[in-house]
Amino acid sequence: MAEFLIETIGLPTWFAWTAIAGLSAFLILNVIAGGALVFIWAERKIAARIQDRLGPTRTGGRFGWLQSLADGIKLLAKEDLMPDGADALLFRLAPYVSFCASFCAFIALPFAFDTVGQRLNVGVFFVVAVLGLEVFGVILAGYASASKWSLFGAMREAAQVVSYEVPLGMCVVVPVMLAGSMDLVTIGEKQAGWAMNWFIFHDPFTFIIFWVYCTCAIASVNRAPFDLAEAESELVAGFHTEYSGLRWSFFFMAEYGSMFLVSALAAILFLGGWNGPVPVSELLGFSDGVAANAPFALRFIGCMNLFLKATAGVLLMMWIRWTLPRLRIDQVMTTCLKYCTPIAAAMFLGVMLWQLFLPGGLVPGSFRAAAGVREGWLEQSYRKESAEDESLSLKNLSRHISEVSR
């Protein structure tokens, strides 16, 4: 599309690229923010169902589906309060830091094999690192609020998130090791074919480490039973006690954005990403092995696959939240240091040995036939990618987006 702008309309190159980048950023931001609104609504309905209530029923006609929007408007109209003793600059800055950290990570998150904001060869690393920045917003909020409860929440968050980065990192390294790449697109494509190709079913160790990843992911996005930073019954509302209106809702959006992000990451790393459990397109012979020629429908189905898997992860988090009591801070740390980290380390070692001695699986070549086509595909597209400009994948996204909008 940028080429279209340059060649046909005759815009300057820098302007065309900036415009397209801006458009892409706008789309990512709004798709995810819109998704967050849907998730907030879903959480209210699901919580209500779990608790024998109805939840929102009126707003927007049936099912109260416009409730999140109505809440958003209400939050917009609310007074923006700031405590007297607060550090004004940091207090105002904190929600944006959280929000940006959570949403920035989506830049490198592929939604289908070439539908990615910016394909990075260290995609996994980027996503985990940027997601870890969210804690800064929380610490800033707690420090700047001039409230003791906020400070408690911030300190808890700092201790918890930093600790859980360790086992989380170990879990994330396992798929990287199996795929031999830190590129999320490569990791996803390596799992093409039947569901047995998904990394969660690769060997017993990956199966266990998937659940460790789930635990650490819930802890790192501060969801129950690890929601210590905002523990309602202890810390009133934790780090966002003093926030109101839209600033508060930025924290909320960041939370739901991160929830979706870690679920999508789980889907890509362990659950085959955008590949369905059955390789329908390969079986029917739709794909000819060249990524650029892949029909639009394939990309769309890939996106849907990923969205479904990520949504399932988010729903799982909601289910857990409305069922379990909250752990205490020392128990949270114990879970991390005494269980998650050693298990992750042992499984990491196990996967390493498995790769060394049984690289083809117990029954060599059993389910990997269908993946052959896609691997050739991957090679081709990767060579093309590396040969051309880095921002080419951005073009792919914009093309995809323009097709969607058409």
């Binding site: 210590l228 019954s233 801070i329």
Partner: protein, 402 residues
């Protein structure tokens, strides 16, 4: 001469020392059960000292009682333990009846057992749900309220009120049961019985719940008695006292012929008349888990008592009897009576001078004594344990402040 830091080593140490922080928990805090204010002295997450401040709900109920006749004061007892108002009504009514040496009819006696035990279930349901809330789980609270709502519906049919009943009064009850009420009550019990297992799954045996409550806030039997703790708090420490069995004759006579076993751990196990989950290995007698569990057992026990009283009430011939006159003259003297309320032993004391209006009224609140032990239990615990401990004492501020 001013000493510099280099000269005096202690100053450096003092300078490096981290400060203790004084934190106000309440009176507007989500987990302080109304308007309780706890002042915590904390070192990081560790609470070194806790001090409860009360009085935010004081309404001079006792003074008002010295200006009203005995029956007129009944609505004020409602507002003490508003979660178990029937029990409050009964406590005051029995104290006045004891002074008057008045005995209610057999039918009224069984009806009182029925109503009061039903209210004990409702009260413990709130206690259980709110305790889940204190530990960060929301759903059991709503499950508990769903069932309590049905009890409130039953009460609404009986007396028109859902919270402040004023139903049991001096000399009997304000009205008899409406037709078909007993069947509806039995239907509720049948429907409610299997649900208790759900509560056990979500809370009692839940691994996180056990982790959060076992060995937390251990109250030794000696300390419990020293502080005057009563009710489930005392029985949770393994002290076998229940006024329905051990109380004064006018109160125990009400439960004459009723079969029930006091929910207390004896020789390492609880009375085995019902199916219930095993005590987890981590739990120590007197900790939060045991206090919670005693309440759960009392729910089952009260259900049993309600069933028994339904039988007896429906077999009773004769009239229910009218309550005493609103301005019945009280003989000069004084009397004190304690009854076993859901929160503990609630006592009423009244001094009379021969007029219908008592000269002095005094209420002895169980929540007050139970709360008094919280500084002992919370010393050295974490902030997250404070709601767990205070919640397990199950205090009601309306009763503490009166």
């Amino acid at each position: 001469m001013v000493q510099t830091l280099d000269e005096d080593q202690r100053i450096i140490e003092f300078d490096v020392r981290t400060d203790e922080m004084l934190v106000n928990m309440g009176p507007q805090h989500p987990s302080t059960h109304g308007v309780l204010r706890l002042v915590l002295r904390t070192d990081g997450e560790i609470v070194s000292e806790l001090e409860p401040h009360i009085g935010y709900l004081h309404r001079c109920a006792e003074k008002i009682g010295e200006n009203l006749t005995a029956r007129q004061w009944i609505p004020y007892t409602d507002r003490m333990d508003y979660l178990a108002a029937m029990n409050m009504n009964l406590g005051w009514s029995l104290a006045v009846e004891k002074l008057l040496r008045y005995q209610v009819s057999e039918k009224a006696r069984h009806l009182r057992v029925l109503i009061v035990e039903l209210n004990r279930i409702a009260s413990h349901l709130v206690g259980m749900g709110a305790y889940g809330l204190d530990l960060g789980t929301f759903s059991p609270f709503l499950y508990a309220f769903r069932e309590r709502e049905k009890i409130l519906d039953l009460y609404e049919e009986v007396c028109g009120a859902r919270l402040t009943y004023s139903y049991i009064t001096v000399g009997g009850m304000t009205a008899d049961l409406p037709p078909g009420w007993l069947q509806r009550c039995e239907a509720f019990l049948d429907q409610f019985e299997p649900i208790i297992q759900e509560y056990h799954t979500l809370l009692t045996t839940n691994a996180i719940f056990v982790k959060r409550t076992a060995t937390i806030g251990v109250l030794s039997p000696e300390m419990a008695i020293d502080y005057g703790c009563t009710g489930p708090v005392l029985r949770g420490s393994g002290v076998d006292i229940d006024l329905r069995r051990d109380g004064e004759s006018i109160y125990t006579a009400m439960y004459d012929g009723y079969a029930f076993e006091v929910a207390v751990m004896k020789n390492g196990h609880y009375p085995r008349d019902h199916e219930y989950p095993a005590v987890p290995k981590d739990a120590v007698l007197g900790d939060c888990w045991h206090r919670f569990f005693v309440r759960m057992l009392e729910v089952v026990q009260s259900m049993d008592l309600v069933r028994q009283s339904i039988d007896r009430y429906s077999q009773c011939k004769g009239a229910l009897g009218e309550p005493l006159k609103l301005a019945e003259k009280l003989p000069a003297g004084d009397t004190y009576l304690e009854t076993e309320c859901p929160k503990g032993q609630m006592g009423f004391y009244l001094v009379t001078d021969g007029t219908p209006i008592p000269w002095r009224v005094r209420a002895r609140s169980s929540s007050f004594s139970n709360l008094a032990v919280s500084p002992e239990l919370c010393r050295g615990c974490l902030i997250a344990d404070v709601p767990a401990v205070v919640g397990s004492l199950d205090v009601v501020m309306g009763e503490i402040d009166r």
